[in-house]
Each structure stands twice: as structure tokens, then as C-alpha cells.
Subunit: 249 residues, 2 copies
Amino acid sequence: MLKEERQKFILDQVHLHHRVLLNDLSDSLNVSIDTVRRDVKELAKDRKLKKVHGGATSFGFMNFRKDEGNVYLQSKKIAIAEKTVSLLSEGQVILMSGGTTNMEVAKMIPKKLALTVFTPSLHVAMELLELPEVEVIFLGGKLLHDAKFAVGGTVVNSLSQLRVDMCILGTGYLDAVHGLTEFDWEVIQVKQAMIRAAKKTVILSVSDKLHSVQKYKTCDMTAVNTLVTELDPNDELLDAFRPYDLTLI
Amino acid sequence: MLKEERQKFILDQVHLHHRVLLNDLSDSLNVSIDTVRRDVKELAKDRKLKKVHGGATSFGFMNFRKDEGNVYLQSKKIAIAEKTVSLLSEGQVILMSGGTTNMEVAKMIPKKLALTVFTPSLHVAMELLELPEVEVIFLGGKLLHDAKFAVGGTVVNSLSQLRVDMCILGTGYLDAVHGLTEFDWEVIQVKQAMIRAAKKTVILSVSDKLHSVQKYKTCDMTAVNTLVTELDPNDELLDAFRPYDLTLI
DNA sequence: ATAATTTTTGCATGATTTTGCGGCTTTTAC
DNA sequence: GTAAAAGCCGCAAAATCATGCAAAAATTAT
């Protein structure tokens, strides 16, 4: 097999899966791991892919852990995103946090719907910029390496000067008793500020995350106006939330 | 068998299978490997196929996927990025604008180099977040849909509160007489603020962009401390810039 | 037709590239 | 912290390549 063939195969795999392991490549190509390593090194030098520990990834910006998110969760998130988009209307000014669910929402916004969206999430911002009618304002600040999410005083401060129609909070853990919780202190500071800045608070959550509690608390359930899940609004799993004054969809 | 016939056979094989091995050709043509080698060499000189180690491939083999921009510019940008990275040192606080050249710089920063980087560019920020030792602060504001770049009063205002070691300006057009120019009014506001916020201004420019002028002016050459191109610092194309008090690398 | 000339081909030789392996360092995970 | 995995470096074997040269083949001239 020619070196060119190998490298093309590697590139194809990378583009297809966004991420490949050197071991798998060495396996399916029947060459030593060193050879694959050298190939990847070469391709990386030409900027055809990005070399990472143990493998390689594509250069696209949407290559964040795409593989480990199971398809099963993905379909739920799409269902949630559909419901969420139905809440939006022309000319609104909204806030969107980060997370994969909010990314799905961004992808699903109709191309002709004019909105103004504030967000501290790089991924969401990137996705929203594909929509010509959406004005995107990034809430700048120190970026978290893993979440690609801006946190810190600057963000909170900017938010304190806003009064928007709606805020859509994506990630987070939800429990009827303990409310909305997170595992990152800095993130809850931002989310609290987002809630304060919005007239309405919409929470998106796949049912798997319901009834789970993390270290830090963002807010009580009383602060939430709408809860969006992939479930039917009458599902018994949601019973715990019915005592509160919120809309289930 | 005539030479012409052989070469036609070789070309047919290449077009059919996208790749051939010299050994196979020598085998099926019943000629020595050297003859085949010579044939392939000749065909490669006429650009009929691409010669690779051990065989030949058709031209469209590797690049069915469109690389953004031409490879020719890409290599220049990589050269510039290499020089630029050599200007960086541990612990510095810097500003980076957007553009593909600055992206290359971000990609080339060593994994272990600790920096603090402010940027209004989504792409640059995204790339910098791959580096664990780099603290990334996004300068938030209204995002331009095409450039994925934050502009507006918020950005300028944030910049006015900064005093950083160096600012690295990527895109833009450069001319010895007219200085640094842009085609977007909002962008030059940001770039001017970046220059004001930095002790040193570094300009990156591929030689193709030298001596070209756009509508709006960011600054004079006198404001520039270092000019990085892919050329040798002694290249005569840079002569026009020598009268100014700047470093050419 | 035959000799002279040019082109092509095959082979030997040494240079270059590619590849896998072992030892050793770095990174990651627990 | 420590163990395991991954990466890096240098080396040597194998494969491929370039070059020179002489024989074979084809072309041309006489």
C-alpha cells in the first residue's frame, strides 16, 4: 500500500468521525503504530488534521467530543430544541447559555427569523452566526477551556446592564427540591446573572438529568418559567415539578 | 510494445484505480521496473499523473476535499506564524486580532507556553482554547457574520482598559505610504483600540498584500513596531518599509 | 540493403526513503 | 503519588530511486 493511500485513508477517517485513534488506524491499515504516527505527524504539519494525544482530530470547529455523545441523547436534544424554537418570535432579544442542547436550538432556528441573541458560549455563537437575520452579541470574558464558555466579572457585569425577553439555559442538573444546580462555581455566577437579566427563564433538560443534584445551586425552581424536556408534558416523571408555577412543554 | 502504448496503459490504470504500483505495472507490461519508472517520470513531468514513492496516483486523488484557500498562500502563512511565535515569551499578555494568519499563529503556539491572550475573534479564541496553558479572554461585542469577529463600542471600551505587552494584527492591507488599511469601518475601530492598548504592535502580512491600499486607514507605518512577512528580511520587496523605525523579520 | 546514428531498454551500483523495533522520556489516568 | 499508555529518537533492514553504462532496438542516411 502506498503512503499516499494510507494518508488519504487517515484523512477520510478523520473527516468522517472527527476523531481517530492511532491504534485503530494502525489496526485497520495493517502497519505499525509508528508508521501511522509518522503519517499523522506529516499531515499535521500540512495542517490537514490536528494531532492530539493518542490520535487525531479534524480542524473544524465543531469537533468537540462529538463521538462520545450518544445518538440516543442526541435525538432527545433535537426534540427539546424543536419545542424551544416554538417559543421564539420575531424581533425578540434573548439570552442563550452553552451546552449541546442549546447548540441544537441554535441549529434549528429558522433562517428568516430575526432575533438578537446574547451568549457567552463560543459554540452557540458560532452556530448562530450561520443565521443571517440573527444579531449575535458575545458576552466576553475569560473562557473556560473545556466548555468554551465565558465566565467572570466581565460577563456578569455586562449582563447586569441587560433586560431581555427570555433566557434559555441549556446544561445543568435539575431537581424539584434543590432547583437548578451546576458543578462549576463560575458558571453559576453567569447563569444567575442571566436569569436576573431576563423577563422569562426557560430551562432545557433531557429527562436523564432530571432529579439529579450537583454541588452548586443556580436557582430554585420558583425562578423558572418554562421547563422543556423531550417528554410528553403529562409524563409522570414531571409530576414533581407541577407544584411550581411553571409551564411544562 | 511501443512506448506510447505503454504510457497510455499506465495512464488508463491510474485513471481507473486512482493509483498504481510500479511493480504491478512492470509485471503486467512485461518490462523492467526501470522502464516503467522512466515512463512514469516522463508522464509526471507532463503533469499527466503524480509520481509518488512506489507508484503513481491521479491528480485528484488526495484533494477531493476542498482545502480552504490555496495551498500556496497557506505555506506563506505558516512561515509567518513560525516567525511570530518566536516573538512570544512566557507569561506575556497579548492581543490577537482575527484572520487566517493569526489562526496559524494560534495553532503554532507551543503547548507549554503560558500566555494570556485577549481576542475579539471567535476562530482565534477557539484555537487558543486547545492550549491548556493559555488563558483566553474574549473581547465581547456584536459579532460580524462573515468574519466571526467582535466589533462595536463594547470591544473598544474593554480595550481602553487594557495595557498589554504586544498586539498581533493579522489581516489587513499594508502600504509604506498609506500604512495599514481595511475595508471595514467597524474593524478599524477595534484595531485602532488594540494598537492603543499595546506597548508593541506586530503586523503580519503575506507579501501579496504588501503595497495594496483599502478604503479605511487603521494606522500609519510609524505606529508599527514589527512587520512579519514570509520573505527574507533583506528582500527588496521590503525596501519601501525600511525608512520607518520598525523591525522586519 | 547496410552502416551510422539515435533512442530505448536492462542492469549494476550507490543514494535515498520508508518502515519496524528497542530504549527512553513524556503525558495521561487512576 | 504510581502505573500504563503514548510519544520521541536513533538504528538497521528492506524497499525504492537515480545514475551511468552498455547492449538491443529503432530510425535514418547513404
